[in-house]
Structures are given as C-alpha cells and as structure tokens.
C-alpha cells in the first residue's frame, strides 16, 4: 500500500502521538479505508469493523514509538496486520477451547464500482477466479504479507501458498487476456 500513498506530514503524526484528536482523525481518514480492506481480508467481514477500531486505538497508543525511520504508511500497515493476526489467533484459540463448529470462511465482499478502466477490468477478472485464490493473491499482492502469514490466515500449509499463488496468478492472467489484456 505504501507506494500508493503520499505520506502525511510529520507534524500531523507528532500531534496525533500527543493525543490531538483532530490529527488522529486525519490519520484515520487517510488510511482507514485502505487498512480496513487489509483487515477484512485477514479476519473476515463480520469482525472487520471491531478489529479496525481496536487496531486504531492500539495504533494511537503506539504512535509515540514511531521513529520516522520508515514510511508511516508501511508502519501503520504493519501495526494493523499484527493486530488483525492477533485477533485471528485469539479467535482460533477460542474456537479450539469451546469446540464450536468451524466458522464459515470469511466472505470476500463485492467490489464497489471503481472508475478507472484498468481497475474495472481487473475487478471483473478477479471475480472469475476462486474466492480462496483471490484472497491469497490479494494478501500477497496488495497486503504484501509473507507466505507464513498467509498460511496462518487462510489455514493452509506454508508450502502450499506458493503453488496456490501460481494458480491464482495464472488464472487471473488468463481471465485478463480474455478481457483484452495484452500482458
């Protein structure tokens, strides 16, 4: 996500670290949508709202530790991924101890309309591939997670992630070529 962002100015980040609500709101408004999608992919739609709120509260608590040595968007993304993974682990522990039925796989939501033509084509192509493959591809290509993290989120062996990604990328490429993509 970082390469899409124009970073917030340091002043806003410093004010937010001091607890200034308006600065914190600006951070939320700038990054909320992007990190929401990441969190949604990790924990599923039903928990995404709660996890996002918890994660931002944690983020603002941690903000004084941000040293301005990396891009802020990279840091915020990592904090959010960690919070979502923590939530996932807690949920799994709870499921194991209470022996609930296996929860349904989190649904990949319907993509809203995106104006750009390229985005429209890829959105269409993405809909054609299996939801699990799409999710794995997004976790890698958009969220830039490691294979170990993806394996944990999706619940597959780490060694399988690469082959699933191969399948996802090939299917996606074929769909795009059908839609006129020249590669």
């Amino acid at each position: 996500m970082s390469n899409l962002d124009q970073e917030l100015d340091d002043g806003t980040i410093r004010l937010a670290a001091k607890g200034v609500r308006d600065a914190q709101r600006r951070i939320y408004e700038k990054y909320g949508n992007q990190v929401y999608r990441t969190i949604e992919r990790i924990v599923g739609q039903s928990d995404a709202d709660d996890v996002l709120q918890d994660a931002f509260i944690r983020l603002f608590q941690k903000l004084p530790t941000f040293r301005f040595e990396s891009a802020f968007s990279t840091w915020i993304h990592r904090v959010m991924v960690n919070e979502a993974l923590q939530h996932l682990r807690k949920r799994k522990r709870k499921l194991m101890t209470t022996n609930f039925d296996r929860q349904p796989e989190p649904e990949i939501d319907k993509r809203p309309f995106i104006a750009s033509e390229v985005a429209e084509v890829i959105t269409q192509a993405m809909k054609q591939i299996e939801p699990e493959l799409r999710r794995i591809f997004e976790l890698k290509a958009i969220d830039e997670l490691s294979y170990a993290e993806i394996a944990e989120i999706v619940g597959i062996p780490e060694g399988t992630v690469g082959s699933r990604l191969n399948r996802a990328r090939r299917e996606l490429r074929d769909q795009l070529i059908e839609l006129g993509w020249e590669g």
């Binding site: 909320g32 809203p112 985005a119 490691s146 990328r169």
Partner: protein, 313 residues
C-alpha cells in the same frame, strides 16, 4: 541440479516473492535468464502485482471516526479511576482483598473519590472568575462530539431504510415515543411542535422516534438541552403521504454534525443560515433551532426545503 521449465513454473511465485532460499534461487534465476517462455510468465506475474494495487483505491464503509473517538474518550475518562485503583488498592488485587480487609478497600475508594472531588474543585475554580468566556470555550471544545451523517446521506436516495440501518450500525439507537422524546428534552421537540402545527414538509407525519446516544455530555452546566444521562439526539422518521420518508435529527448545541467529504454550502433561507449539502437529489440540511440544532436528511427538492422554512420560520 538441472532446473527445467517445469520446476521453475512450480516455484515461480515463491521465487518472485523472495520466499526461496539457497542455491536453488540462483538456479531459477539462471534459468529465467535463458528461457523466454518462463521469463515472459514472470513479467506477467509482476504486472499482475502492479494491477492488484488498483483495488486499494476504492472506498469502503468503514466505522465512523466518532466511534473510535468515543471509545478513546471513555478510556481516557476511565484512566483517573484506573490509576487510582492501582495506586491505592491494586486493580487486580482489590477483589481478593475485599473479603479479608474491606475497610482498607473502602478507605481507598473514599480517597479516590476525595481526590476526584478536589480536582473538580481546582479545575472548576477559574469558571467562577470568568464564567461567560469559559462557557463559550467549553461549548467550542464540546463540539468534538459530533455526528457524521455522510454514509446516511449517501445511501438515502437509493435505499432510505438501509441508511437507517447504517445509522443503527454506527450509533446506539433505541426506540422511544415522541412524548418520551419531548420529556427527555424538557420541551416539545422540533418534530413534535411542527407536527402539531401540521407544518412538517410534504404533509409528513412522524412514524417513529429513536434516541441516539453519544458519549458523555460535555455541555457546561445548564447549557445542555437534551436531558439527563449524556448527550442524546432524537431522530424521527417522518413519512410523506406518498410513502417516502425523511429523517429529522435534533441535537443539543454542544454537538456538531458533519457530512464528511460531501460539499456543504452555507445558504440563507428565510433569513436563517443553513448548512446544506445535496447528494443525488437528496438534501441534508442543518440549522440552529431554539437552543439546539436540527438536521433534516431526505428532502427531495429545493421547493420542499424552502417550504420547511416558509412554514416554520
């Protein structure tokens, strides 16, 4: 080890994503340098990664900032008590100690209470010296309690009921009668008054009323118009004879309303300053009324908005 196309194809993603280690990585690299077919596939994979970022540009209906802000405010408020607990009693130990040494715990709680009262007295003192200016300042500070109605306005045209569900998702809402809403405000609410006068826009009638609770009230004493127990808004669903609806929010003066990124104009209608935004033929209007604020979402035309002010002011 001879690395052929089949092996490279199996490990292409892992190689590209930096998940391979050791000499095998170099072998794949060497193969890619000489095999146009595998190299072409690699280029496709890399381009797909770039294309995938198109997704992150879209927008989702994320929770409103106000919900997070409220939770943080609650935590901050609770911090005084929490600190007090841990310094005097030990927040974890208090439970087990109560049984054996209850007086000690009671003394600790009393000490916390006394300290809190002392702080309130100390902080409250400057008010006595310059009450008017402090009241104004407190009202200004209190405007951080706000309603963000952007998602409601955006959804209203296509699905008014969904916009109410969105509102319920983001805020605590509980049903109450219009009479109870009047009692909560200590006077007739906006909807109640103009319904009695048969002056609601579009000859609408109030269908249901809900109490929307915001975080703890920050109004200066005597300034809050929304009753006891925190800053509440009253939301009324008004139905026109043709079955369509609009929403009327009534807030106290210390609260603010936001329409998010929607463009807001300040216009004068019947001599009254009105904040106004339109989204796909649906208006959202905010104006001061008596000692509070009123927001109307869902009026459908300029003349309907005008009728609101022509009738009521």
């Amino acid at each position: 080890m001879k690395i052929d196309c089949k092996i490279v194809q199996e490990h292409l993603s892992a190689w590209m994503d930096g998940e391979l280690e050791g000499a095998f990585t170099d072998g794949v690299q060497q193969h890619l340098a000489t095999c146009t077919s595998c190299a072409r596939e690699l280029v496709h994979f890399q381009k797909l990664n770039q294309l995938a970022h198109s997704f992150s540009a879209d927008s989702s209906h994320i929770p409103l900032w106000e919900m997070i802000e409220q939770r943080m405010n609650l935590r901050t408020d609770g911090q005084v008590l929490k600190n007090c607990d841990s310094s005097k009693l030990g927040s974890i130990r208090i439970k087990s100690r109560l049984g054996s040494r209850p007086w000690r715990a009671i003394f600790g709680v009393a000490a916390c209470f006394a300290a809190t009262v002392l702080m309130i007295v100390i902080i409250g003192r400057p008010w006595a010296t310059n009450r008017n200016s402090m009241d104004r300042s407190a009202v200004e500070q209190a405007t951080n309690v706000s309603l963000n109605l952007q998602p409601v306005v955006e959804q209203f045209q296509s699905d008014p009921q969904a916009s109410i569900r969105t509102l319920k998702k983001h805020y605590n809402l509980e049903d109450l009668s219009l009479a109870d809403a009047d009692a909560s405000f200590g006077r007739l609410t906006y909807v109640s008054k103009y319904w009695n006068d048969d002056a609601l826009p579009g000859s609408a009638t109030p269908e249901s009323t809900m109490l929307l609770s915001l975080s703890s009230c920050q109004c200066p004493k005597g300034k809050c118009t929304c009753g006891d127990g925190g800053c509440n808004c009253v939301v009324s669903v008004c139905r026109r004879p043709d079955g369509s609806i609009f929403l009327v929010f009534e807030q106290c003066q210390s609260q603010s309303v936001s329409f998010g990124n929607l463009p807001v104009k300040i216009v004068k209608r019947n001599g009254l300053e009105v904040q106004e935004t339109w989204f796909r033929g649906v208006s959202a209007i905010s104006f001061d009324w008596l000692s509070g604020k009123v927001v109307v979402v869902g009026l459908r035309s300029d003349s309907e908005v005008d009728s609101l002010f022509a009738n009521n002011f």
